[in-house]
Symmetry: C2
Subunit: 298 residues, 2 copies
C-alpha cells in the first residue's frame, strides 16, 4: 500500500505479505485494514487504485480470475468502494505499471509506450496515443503467450512455444525440473538443492557464463526468444518508449541489455529510429503509482 500524491510522488509505503492461501475474504480484510491505517494517518484519501495480477472486470473492478491468488470472481472493486466511499480503480498489475511509467516514470512526456515485465511470468501493457489500451476483451498485451517457436515447449496455457516458457521464472524452473527428472547433469540442480522453484535468473546467468550446458541452453534461448518477441512487438506497434522491468531482468540485467541491443538490431529501421528503451523507473512501485493515477483520473 502506498500513498501517492497527484504528481505521482510516493509519500509512504506499507508492505505486507498477501498470504493468499488464507482465502479471498482474509486478504480483503487485511487490505481494508491497511488502507484504513493509511487513511487515518492522512485524514482523507481521494481515491483508491489497486494493481492486481489477474484479469479484472473493467467496469466494476471485480477480479474475474487471478491464478497467482487462486481467485475467481472476487468483488475487490465493489468491496473497497462500499467500505471507503471514494472512487476505486482496479487494474491488471502490468497495465497499471505501464500507466505508472507513462505518467510518472520512463515514459513521461511520450505519446506511446510499451512496458514489458519479465518475472514469474511475462506481462506487458501498452499506452497508445496517450491512452491505456485494454483490448476488445480486456485481454491485450499477453506477450508471454505469443509463440516464439512453432510447436515449441508446452505451456500450462495449453499452447506450445509461448515466450513465457523460454524466459520467465516459471519457465526457467520448469526446464530445470524436467532436466532433473531426466537425470541431466547440471550445476543448477545443486545450486537449488534440487528444488527448481528456488532457481533464479542470476543463477542461470552465472552458470551459463561458467559453461554449464543446461544453463547455457536456457540462457541462450532466453536471449533469443525475448529479443524476437520484443522486436516483433516494436515492429508492430512502433512505440516511442519500450520499458523493461520485472524480477528476472532485475536479477539478470545482462539479459535486459542483450535483448535491448537485439531489439535495435532486429526491428525495422523506422521503428528503431523513433524508439527509446529504458528500465522501469518506478521499480516495483510502478503498479501502485499507476493504479493511483487511474483512480484519480476516474
Amino acid at each position: 500500500v502506498g500513498v501517492v500524491t497527484g504528481d505521482g510522488t510516493l509519500l509512504s509505503r506499507l508492505e505486507q505479505p498477501t498470504d493468499a492461501r488464507r482465502g479471498a475474504r482474509a486478504v480483503l480484510t487485511d487490505l481494508q485494514l491497511a488502507i484504513r491505517q493509511v487513511q487515518d494517518s492522512l485524514g482523507r484519501i481521494e481515491g483508491i487504485g489497486v494493481a492486481c495480477a489477474g484479469q479484472i472486470q473493467p467496469d466494476t473492478g471485480a477480479v474475474v480470475h487471478a491464478s497467482n491468488l487462486g481467485w475467481r470472481d472476487v468483488p475487490l472493486g465493489p468491496a473497497l468502494r462500499e467500505t471507503f466511499s471514494v472512487p476505486v480503480a482496479v487494474e491488471n498489475d502490468v497495465r497499471a505499471a505501464a500507466w505508472g511509467e507513462f505518467r510518472f516514470g520512463a515514459g513521461q512526456g511520450a505519446g506511446s509506450l510499451v512496458t514489458v515485465f519479465v518475472g514469474t511470468g511475462v506481462g506487458s501493457g501498452a499506452v497508445i496515443d496517450g491512452r491505456l489500451w485494454r483490448g476488445a476483451g480486456n485481454a491485450a498485451g499477453e506477450l508471454g503467450h505469443t509463440q516464439v517457436v512453432a510447436g515449441g515447449l508446452a505451456c500450462p496455457c495449453g499452447q506450445r512455444g509461448c515466450l513465457e516458457q523460454y524466459v520467465s521464472g516459471n519457465g526457467f524452473a520448469r526446464r530445470l525440473e524436467q532436466a532433473i527428472a531426466t537425470g541431466a547433469a547440471t550445476r543448477l540442480a545443486d545450486l537449488v538443492g534440487r528444488d527448481p522453484s528456488r532457481l533464479t535468473a542470476d543463477m542461470v546467468s552465472t552458470a551459463a557464463a561458467e559453461g554449464d550446458p543446461l544453463a547455457r541452453e536456457i540462457w541462450d534461448d532466453a536471449i533469443r526468444s525475448l529479443t524476437m518477441a520484443l522486436a516483433n512487438y516494436v515492429t508492430l506497434l512502433n512505440p516511442e518508449v519500450l520499458v523493461l522491468g520485472g524480477g528476472v531482468l532485475d536479477a539478470a540485467p545482462k539479459l535486459a541489455d542483450l535483448a535491448s541491443a537485439g531489439v535495435l538490431a532486429l526491428t525495422t529501421p523506422l521503428a528503431r529510429a523513433s524508439l527509446r528503451i529504458d528500465r522501469a523507473r518506478l521499480g516495483d512501485w510502478s503498479g501502485v503509482v499507476g493504479a493511483a493515477a487511474l483512480a484519480r483520473e476516474r
Copy 2:
C-alpha cells in the same frame, strides 16, 4: 481513382496503370488529369484522399519512400493541394484500407480492428480505440517484417526470418527462384515457364495438393508462419475484428481459411472470445474508400 460519398459509397471508378518507370513527374501529371476528369464530371469535390504504397510524411502527405514506385521524397500531397485547393490526405495504402474497412467495411461499428493484406508483400493497419494508429515514427504495422523463424530465410530488408519471406508473392517467387537455381525438380518451374515472377498463390496451392515437394514446403511454411504471426498480433492487441485481404489470399482463399482457424486455436482464450475474423469487404477499393474518409475527416 474513385468518387466516394460521405457514407462510403463508391459512385464511379477509373482504373489506369501507374507505369512508374516513366518517373514521378509523369505519374503525378496522370493522377492530376484523372482527378480533374472526375472533378469536371461532378462539378465539385470536397477533398482528395490518396492511398499510396509507401512511407508517407504524415503532416504534408509527401511520399518519403515508395519502393514499388521507385520514389523518394515526392511531394504528392503538396502537389495535389496546390492544384486542387481542397483538403488532401495521403496515407499508406494498407493503413488507408484498414480505415476504409473500419468505417465502411468489415469493421463497421467495431471499436478496434486489425487489417492484414497479403499480396506482393505483407502489410497491416490497426485501428485502436476508434483511431488509426500510425506509430511514434509513422512505422506501425510492419507485420511482414516481424520474425517468424529465428535466423530464418534472408529478407531484402537485411533481416532474417521475416514473415514476408514465407507468405507473400515476392516470398513465394524468391523461393522458387532459389529452387530453380539449385536445380530442384518441381512442377512450379514448368508452370511459370521458368519465370518465378509469374508464380501465383493458386499455383502453389494446387501443386502442393498434387504432392509437389517444393510447393508443399512453401505452402506448409506459409500456413504455419501466417497463422503464428496473426495469432501473436491478436494476442498482443486483442482487436475486435481481424480483416484479411490481398491478392495472395484472394488467389488462395484456403490459406486465409486455414490461417483463420489456426489463429482461433493459437491465441489466448480471452482474445479469441472477443474476436471476429472477416475478409476485406471493400476488396481492392478499401484503400480508396479509406483515404477518401481520411480526407473528409481532415
